[in-house]
Symmetry: D2
Subunit: 335 residues, 4 copies
């Protein structure tokens, strides 16, 4: 940690500050320069917050120089994590596409979509049983019945299931029925949910919050891993910016940045990231070119009749066509 | 709802679209202009999503022209809501300041602060028992013991208690011990928590999410009111922008905008909104001048030793001084 | 244009408003619905601002339903524009990479880089002679001498020159020496410069402003085209968001959105878009996969000694390697 | 400056880096800690960019610990600057309100408004002669004729004139006719204009760019002061965020932050900051309560007929009423 001292601080006050730091068992190094005076703190600073010092009258600023995550970071875990869910693997060279409708609507729908995407090469089936909607008047999903329909589709196609959990009340059902538990963007900092889901020791798909920094995303992954799950997939799904031409701004630089900082697999969601079905293909291909370990894409057999997110869902035919290009781009970027 | 038709759409296709809308029991009006063709939808469109139409090949865009909230809006509820919690009232001309430490740390601390702020004119006591922290390694509050200490402080001072709930597991405890249940910024769209808290029929302090629009804030209030609570206080606490000189960007225009659109009381949090104790006074006064119904301010007896948010907490002395100015500004803006 | 009427407006006031609109030679259509009353304006509304109506006591909101640009839009110009600069073509199926150092530093430097990038397949040479720097104390480029060195490099390699103009004082020099005049992000809304540059009737590379919407970018292109230049290249170079892990957030969805709305070629700048040299390759490939008509990349022979932007420049070797992958990705995304 | 070394760097490589820094005449201090190794640079680092080191294989990050501005900062200029323009003073305890129409439209209009605002207590007259508009089809002001009308209004009322310059071509006219030259938000980083305006040695009103940090605003002020003008007024006028309920998000925390970091006067523009006339009063009062040295407000005698920004202009009557409250709030916040 570095503490920048104000230029008008007295030597006496600086000495007092140094003593108080040393009293906490830390080593202080005094750094004097032409126009700056700093203190460098050494020792175990993991429990020391820069805020502790920001209050002091003689401190201009204080900050940590190392990232605050450990379990999610690559520093102490250099090799890639491979997440395994049923027959699917993701990360460490394994690439997987997750596809399916925004929400499970009926047995016909989910079976039809599941079969189609399996044929096209998807490795996992997504489907919402519980839907977070900004309006209390919107369709909120079929609930537990939705999970049953997903299980039926899994039985027919062999595709492991990805579904979003919204409430701690459903932990048991998700532990039993779902292969990869999704934490949605709006719950990325629902810390009590993170702690509970972590304890299930199952694969988790963690979506970046709408206004979350990559460091905050990794800190939420840290909660999950500390809780007991070392199987975490990070997902870039667009952040909120001033631009309104798209639903969100898909931040594809997040992919190489996260892969550099963390050992966890990183995927992208071009459906929520853009909000328009005709933008799904170009952004899906872009995510693959940027090095993503996978994609999560909304596919619906009748998008114009979808109960949710119809405008950003693609048809199985478009998905099939996209998967061919995805594979070609994967080949193209190989060393 | 307005549907803008693409310029190259055939009359046949437009006719088909109009018929399909009329089949849903809605009235369609055809609007032809020099360089635009639109359909105006009338009737009960509350369950009709613009997304349904965005997929159509002949539709350029579709959007609602009325706000999506009803219970939280002023349209059908023109008079101000007054929220009552114990001896305190807020809204409809009643002004109240909520103050106290970021987190409850000890009986001495909370009692000392509670007495001081009561003397200075605060009407409610805030204190965190459960703390949402971005790091799993930070101090997370005293938990249920923290609620007990808050109750002790209430007994001594008479100040009703405001505290943040993080988990559905604590609904019973909050229902019993807390006068105003706070929903934090990171849980503003934790819809399952909103539904459960709404059912308690208690006053709720709902903080704006870091990247939430005012419309989304009102939609979350709609969840609470629909759930059963008509006692909701809205709180502007800063949004996330590109600026790093402050912790967040306090959006004070939110105060008059919310008060125009909604009947609910609106308060501001200059502590989290700025992140620096020396900015609390100017922004607190600014919020009052902008028409806030109250403030929520972090006050700590020993900010430099606070376990949380010390850099943005003010001392009881500074708070006392601030309250005098707050009252003067309230007088100054009266008609 | 649509005018949404307030629910409590009297019929008399609405009638007055309708008459005042008709007096301007426009046609008004009255749209009555269950919970909304609107007026649809037809006729030539290009000179009518919605703001004119927003002041009225009975108007809730007013907005145009059609995009405000004409010359830059695809509506009246469906075929792709191909920009030609010397031997290079860009747009309409022509793909071109622009490369070179942030700033021209010496004859040796610019010649060395120009030869290297030409060998690797770059079609145009970029180099800054006048540099916009946030600090008055930073290196601001060699000025007119820089343009001379660029001309020397062009003579040796045949590569047309792209360079940024900062001041109207340099219009003559740029008209004579530069093949593609760059308008930087900070000048995207320097309207007097846009007007003057447009009059030169030369190819222009127009960079998106740090906080400009895509509509604003197209409106700035409209200034150029209206001024006299139909040769405009649009460039996505990253927008400013809350994320600090990268210098800017490269918005790759801008590529397909712009290509849909406009006939102008669209390129991406992964160097400024990310600010880190090791992110240039993944984001360059992603931009190509998203459908970009070209790239602009900072290449420096000795990035660690660069006078400007060294941390985001790649070496000629890395560029050579990247170009191979760029070509492979272009093949991969073909239908 | 601090250079953070990567954990796996060899001692040999660190030694080489230290030597290369010492070769530049700087002093290096080696800071070793539990989990961090840093180098502290002392001496004159004003011309040394952290980017120089970011390229190195053994460097994790490098950053300056001191602000990059000198002339605009309070460190070497602790006392407040007072800007004088004609009879008006602003800063250092002097408070002044600038008012007038968005654009000068006619002699009647500008005279009428000027007389009204002078009566209500405004100290300077604003009026746009050259208007920056995002569309080339909008009204762009009366140009030089507009300056003549402003001079006529000044002659009648004695109010000094504030007007925005858009082009270097008008430097002579502004030098002669205008008392305070305004640099608009879109030109805040038009560095060639800043340099030229600075040379005029006249008072300048510098508006914050839509996506400019406070540090960047101060760096642009640094350009002006270095150029020759020590009379610079800083203006917060709203930044661009995701919120669409207001035209911009007025960042009132900028006022106390700027006043702490700089000796220059700081004013706020609640008209552009909100974009809605009914929000001007609450935000104007809030800015005063936050410590602003003044305000700039759009006042129009017939806002519903204004050629520009009518929706955010207030009438002279509303302005008169507002000024009374402004004065009361100024009294209320005095110590």
């Amino acid at each position: 940690m570095i503490i920048v001292i104000k230029p008008d601080a007295s030597e006496e006050a600086i000495e007092q500050l140094k003593n108080s730091i040393q009293d906490q068992g830390l080593i202080v190094q005094d750094i004097k320069g032409g126009n700056a005076r700093m203190l460098g703190l050494a020792g175990d600073v993991s429990n020391v917050s820069p805020d502790t010092f920001s209050r002091s009258d003689i401190v201009e600023s204080a900050f940590k120089v190392r990232e605050p995550y450990k379990l999610a970071g690559r520093r102490f875990h250099p090799e890639d994590t491979v997440v395994s869910a049923g027959t699917a693997k993701i990360g460490g060279g394994h690439f997987a596409v997750i596809a399916g409708p925004c929400s499970v609507e009926s047995e016909d729908q989910i079976l039809s979509v599941a079969k189609d995407i399996a044929k096209s090469g998807a490795k996992l089936l997504r489907g919402g049983a519980f839907k977070p909607r900004s309006s209390p008047y919107s369709f909120h999903g079929l609930g537990l019945e939705g999970l049953e329909l997903l299980k039926a589709a899994k039985q027919k196609t062999g595709l492991p299931i990805v579904s979003e959990i919204l409430s701690q009340n459903h932990l048991d059902a998700f532990a039993e029925d779902v292969d990869v538990i999704q934490i949605g963007a709006r719950n990325m900092q629902n810390f009590s949910l993170l702690v509970e889901v972590g304890k299930l020791k199952k694969p988790v798909l963690l979506k970046r919050g709408l206004s979350s920094t990559l460091e905050e995303l990794l800190m939420s992954a840290e909660y999950l891993i500390k809780g007991g799950t070392d199987q975490v997939i990070l997902c870039e799904r667009g952040i909120r910016t001033f631009e309104t031409a798209t639903r969100n701004t898909l931040d594809l630089s997040a992919i190489p940045v996260l892969k550099q900082k963390s050992h966890l697999p990183v995927i992208a969601d071009p459906s929520h990231g853009t909000g328009h079905w005709h933008l799904v293909e170009p952004l899906a291909l872009a995510a693959v070119a940027a090095g993503a370990d996978g994609l999560i894409i909304e596919v619906h057999n009748m998008p114009h009749k979808a109960l949710c997110d119809g405008q950003q869902s693609i048809t199985p035919e478009v998905f099939h066509h996209l998967m061919k290009k995805v594979n070609r781009v994967r080949e193209a970027i190989k060393e």
